[in-house]
């Protein structure tokens, strides 16, 4: 077997796996069957391509081959005659002899698959797993590693979710226009969750986990290409790019976080910032602004400032006000309080934070005492700041954050 053909099949499959599975799932209404025949088509490609040459549109070849295998299987399984009837009806509707000149002309069913994988009838953790498995094209062990879950647990999670899709007949079709917004919001939640998981990963998990952020951005790009008019899709992609632009600068060589104030802004990714800013402009082109677009706009204000003193804090606070109206939450209020401290001075911010401390959602949330400590330190109230850092240290979960807070605490007395 010629290694180059094998590599090419592998590359095509890796890249187009989502599209292939999506098209087959839409055709057969069955994820398992879609996966199996996709795999068979890949195996067939490994045998045929070295002999026949690589087809002009590899994805179309894989799709046609997989579809034929699927039909063969269904024909063999008499008990599933009903499915064949469904399939036949589908063929009548779409026309089976369509031969595209290039992959761009193939119908892209991935959007439908997004809606199936992120169906609200599935538990959120399963939505996340299915999206990685079927749309990002990761293997089950890769998904397990990325989400820090043992492989058998992940296998079971995916099997259960597929069973629910099959037995309750969660459809492979676009939601009705009435439901589209809320269903799309569910898809965006999953993509953003993936991004945040990867972004928040600590050093020891860094390698596999940052891949998650990249995958989330890739999925965001796919969604944006498929739904260019949906401004929250644009907003989410912008938010991810503008946040990810700071990735290299946000931790030191030892993996310990560096505050926005102390980051080397020369290490921020200017390409991502440029792309993100242009997307934010599109996302905010017409009211009403959505929460992702507003968060992206806040991120853009940070990204375009040479340092924290020149950041447009009044504008940041104004955007947090908008965000609070859209999605009221104590965490957003805390972020707003920090921005107010930058605009009006630490005392004003401290005042707001102290009023937030009673919120039950923020109990046990270490960023609150940490932010409080920072402001107390800036006010020269070192003893109280030390006390607040200690309170934050008691709540913090991950090691790099712990080191970061310990250093802030130590710096108080120097």
């Amino acid at each position: 077997m010629e290694p180059r053909a094998a590599e090419l099949v592998e590359a095509v499959f890796r890249e187009e796996r989502g599209r292939l599975i999506a098209a087959l799932a839409a055709r057969f209404g069955d994820l398992d069957l879609a996966e199996e025949v996709a795999q068979e088509a890949v195996e067939a490609a490994l045998t045929r391509w070295p002999i026949d040459g690589v087809p002009e549109v590899p994805l179309a070849w894989l799709l046609t081959t997989a579809r034929r295998r699927g039909v063969d299987r269904i024909r063999r399984q008499r008990a599933q005659a009903q499915r064949l009837a469904v399939w036949a009806a589908e063929v009548d509707r779409t026309g089976a002899t369509f031969v595209p000149a290039h992959a761009g002309e193939l119908p892209d069913e991935r959007l439908t698959l997004f809606f199936t994988c992120c169906h609200p009838a599935l538990p959120l953790e399963a939505q996340v797993a299915l999206t990685l498995r079927f749309l990002a094209g990761m293997t089950t062990p890769e998904v397990a590693a990325a989400l820090l879950v043992p492989v058998p647990t992940m296998q079971q999670r995916i099997v259960r979710a597929k069973r629910k899709i099959t037995q309750t007949r969660i459809p492979f079709r676009m939601p009705d226009s009435e439901q589209l917004r809320s269903r799309l919001a569910a898809v965006l939640t999953v993509v953003y969750l993936l991004f945040a998981e990867g972004y928040a990963s600590s050093e020891d998990e860094e390698l596999i986990r940052t891949e998650l952020s990249d995958e989330a951005i890739r999925l965001g790009r796919i969604l944006h290409r498929l739904l260019p008019q949906e401004r929250e899709v644009t907003g989410l992609l912008a938010l991810m790019l503008l946040t990810d632009a700071r990735r290299d600068a946000r931790t030191g060589p030892d993996g310990v976080p560096i505050s926005l104030e102390d980051q080397d802004r020369g290490r921020w990714d200017t390409d991502k910032i440029r792309e993100g800013r242009s997307l934010v402009t599109q996302a905010l082109a017409a009211p009403p602004a959505g929460p992702y677009a507003v968060q992206a706009a806040i991120s853009a204000l940070h990204d375009e400032a040479p340092d924290v003193t020149t950041t447009d804090w009044p504008q940041v606070v104004a955007l947090y006000d908008v965000l609070l109206r859209l999605t009221p939450s104590p965490v957003v209020e805390l972020n707003r309080a920090v921005a107010v401290a930058m605009r009006d001075g630490p005392a004003a911010g401290l005042d707001l934070i102290d009023r937030l401390a009673a919120a039950p959602e923020l109990r046990g949330y270490h960023p609150l005492p940490a932010a409080r400590a920072d402001l107390l330190a800036r006010l020269g109230r070192a003893d109280e700041a030390a006390q607040a850092y200690r309170a934050a240290l008691e709540l913090v979960g991950n090691e790099p954050e712990r080191i970061y807070l310990t250093r802030r605490l130590a710096a108080l007395h120097t």
């Binding site: 169906h119 037995q167 309750t168 007949r169 969660i170 459809p171 079709r173 009705d176």
Partner: protein, 112 residues
């Protein structure tokens, strides 16, 4: 595909004057199901406080008890079986069920 919609009520629910469930809206809903050709079967259950249970023990003896009266605050108020193409369609019908705004509607596929 057949789905059962179980209409679940909350025992401790209270409604402001004139805002509670009415028989008319449930009847109207059922007519809509019949009109759309998706209605298979349905029934309203009488007061859950009238419940009687029977169990058969190992020796074949039957045991009859009054109740149970939910320590659980939820009770089954009625059921509807519909025949629709997929879960999204079932969800749409469940959303329109008046019980969804007074309690909740649980959707389960019917086997076979």
């Amino acid at each position: 595909m057949k789905y059962m919609l179980q209409v679940i009520g909350f025992a401790d629910a209270t409604f402001p004057e004139g805002e509670g469930p009415t028989a008319e809206e449930f009847i109207g809903y059922q007519q809509a199901l019949v009109g759309a050709g998706v209605h298979v079967d349905s029934g309203f259950l009488d007061d859950y406080q009238l419940a009687t249970s029977v169990q058969v023990d190992r020796s074949g003896e039957r045991i009859i008890t009054n109740g149970p009266f939910p320590e659980t605050r939820e009770y089954l108020g009625g059921w509807i079986v519909i025949d629709v193409p997929d879960l999204d369609a079932a969800l749409d019908w469940a959303t329109r069920n008046p019980g969804a705004k007074y309690g909740r509607v649980e959707i389960r596929p019917v086997m076979g």
